[in-house]
Symmetry: C2
Subunit: 359 residues, 2 copies
């Protein structure tokens, strides 16, 4: 693959905004969606940043995306709310949902908001961190439009990669931020191995009989990933259980569509009806001012200082790799591969948006 | 090993109660503690039922257990509370904490209660199911008195097996109930392999240099389990991240003691100060009456009906194996191995309690 060129977050944001605007998305939604996408790129989560525009362009051309969605509060109490995303992308209702959870949390100590009739919302961690900016613990989970993970003992995908994000505020350290798919690895890792002609370890992916696949190209045909754990012997039932938990919170709770049965139940649906879950929790409801953050700092220090298996490989805390990426990419720009630049040019041209990434 | 004898839940409960009473525990606490312990045995979670009496007897003899603890509400709001467990076993404050979370949830849609200055509380799933009995989603997590799980790239245990329990009410089906340690496997599995002289798979346990151990007896020396995922290649950083999340919710939030630094920070502490986290969430804050339960039933049906890797091995839903155990053990009794019966006799005799399991 050719070397990637780098572009500033600001320029990439303008490129994304130009495309979303050309698609007909209203200005406030463009601003929020672009911000969430670029935040993923800055954190090094390339699979959930500008690269997802290709998928969104597919959704749009397939008629699966409302570009001027109306976000509605369907139910509300002082601590909870249910939002309807109006059939559009998930970033805007996601940010609105977490804002609402934060407002409720500021008043009561807890806020829980679920969203239905939404779609792909980018990197789950961005929403969890939104709560941390206000000094709260943040949780977010999402369903996925298409199943890609096979339950233990099964031979077909039933859940999406159903991620869990959990973030918490420290004081001396950057926030703790766990943002993980409940599959063993992301499909992107298999795609990369297929591109490089490399084998993948048994336990990452399955064929359509539920058998382990080590040929990455073959794995890309089936798109059947294992739940975290990988094999029954290594407790894949736990990753499967976590994926099911995420489905219950993100899909069943708001009344969104369980992706594995979407086609049977609603073959003519114009929208995917993906759902999300958001929780904000105030440490000050439990501890004195600053005590939680200080204890979390101490835990992070203990993890960084612990005995290493390999002296050259530090023990990392969830959020550490992303902090390093933010520093590097803020300084040096965000890499865009030639393939991605071609994709972005094609998408821009097809909707009449200006292409800003000429080199 | 000699064959196990079986005893009714009622008789085992009387045996546990006799011992706890002889230890000086007040009647209400005896009743609740015995009930939670026997509930674990009925669900087939043998490691967290009556077998734990040996550990509690150790705690007691080491002076680490208050047997007449006073449970105090330290902070409270309409949605949240912090309890102090008074330095005793965790079952009684655990049940009280979830009762409080349920009462708050009934009033507001959500209840979050954390407990500090507690100890081992048995099987996390019992508390999550307590919420389900009231029609709510239940979550519980706990820290552990002693670290036994090694973070990715590390060479010493920093977290306990830090379990996550999540339960949700269905209608036609028994509740969904995920109750999982965030380690790859429980230490009990390694102990069993050591007893049988069997090897364990690489990725279950480590030595004190962070290297994989396959000799079960050697693994029992180090008691250094891997986080779910097992190896970095299989994404053990996710299991490690989940264990850290549980530590933040169970230990940092209530102000309990991070087990890995307990000795440095507080070497003379008379109590372990383990913490727990409890959440109850009302589906009716989001959905119409019965809609959540009905959609969860449909998801469970779809999982049971899905294509299998092996036609003879059904796909299970979290909670299914425990339901089968409850049916069998209610009918046939709960098995008690000869070794466990000897332990219980020794414990009973040493505190002057009647031994009821003569055969």
């Amino acid at each position: 693959m050719a070397a990637a060129k780098t572009f500033s977050a600001e320029l990439l944001s303008r490129q994304v905004s130009a495309i979303l605007t050309a698609w007909g998305m209203p200005p406030e939604q463009v601003e929020v969606t672009a911000r969430v996408m670029i935040a993923a790129d800055l954190r090094g989560i390339d699979t959930h940043g500008i690269a997802t525009l290709s998928l969104y362009d597919d959704f749009r051309r397939w008629g699966k995306l409302t570009l001027t969605p109306e976000i509605k509060v369907v139910r509300e109490s002082p601590v909870t709310a249910l939002l309807d995303g109006g059939g559009g992308l998930g970033h805007f209702p996601g940010v609105k949902a977490m804002e609402l959870a934060i407002a409720k949390c500021a008043a009561t100590g807890v806020g829980v908001v679920a969203v239905r009739n939404s779609n792909h919302y980018g990197a789950a961690g961005i929403y969890a961190l939104q709560a941390v900016e206000r000094g709260f613990i943040g949780v977010s989970t999402t369903g996925v439009w298409r199943p890609g993970v096979v339950p233990t003992f099964g031979a077909e995908p039933m859940f999406g990669t159903n991620p869990i994000a959990f973030a918490a505020p420290a004081r001396r350290h950057p926030p703790f931020c766990l943002d993980m798919a409940t599959s063993t690895v992301a499909i992107g890792k298999v795609k990369l191995a297929a591109l490089h002609g490399e084998a993948i370890p048994p336990g990452w992916a399955l064929d359509n009989e539920g058998r382990a696949v080590t040929d990455a190209k073959n794995a890309m045909k089936h798109l059947s990933m294992t739940p975290l754990g990988g094999t029954p012997e290594m407790s894949s039932h736990k990753g499967y259980g976590l994926g099911a938990m995420v489905e219950i919170l993100s899909t069943i709770l708001p009344g969104a569509c369980f992706s594995a049965t979407r086609q049977q139940k609603n073959p003519d649906a114009e929208r995917y009806n993906v759902g999300q879950f958001f929780l904000a929790l105030d440490p000050k409801a439990f501890r004195g001012e600053g005590e939680f953050e200080s204890d979390l700092d101490d835990m992070i220090d203990a993890l960084h200082a612990m005995k290493r298996a390999d002296p050259a490989q530090p023990v990392l805390v969830p959020g550490d790799p992303e902090q390093a990426q933010i520093a590097g990419r803020t300084r040096d720009g965000i890499p865009v591969t030639e393939e991605m630049a071609r994709n972005l040019r094609r998408i821009a041209e097809s909707c009449g948006a200006e292409f800003l990434l000429e080199t």
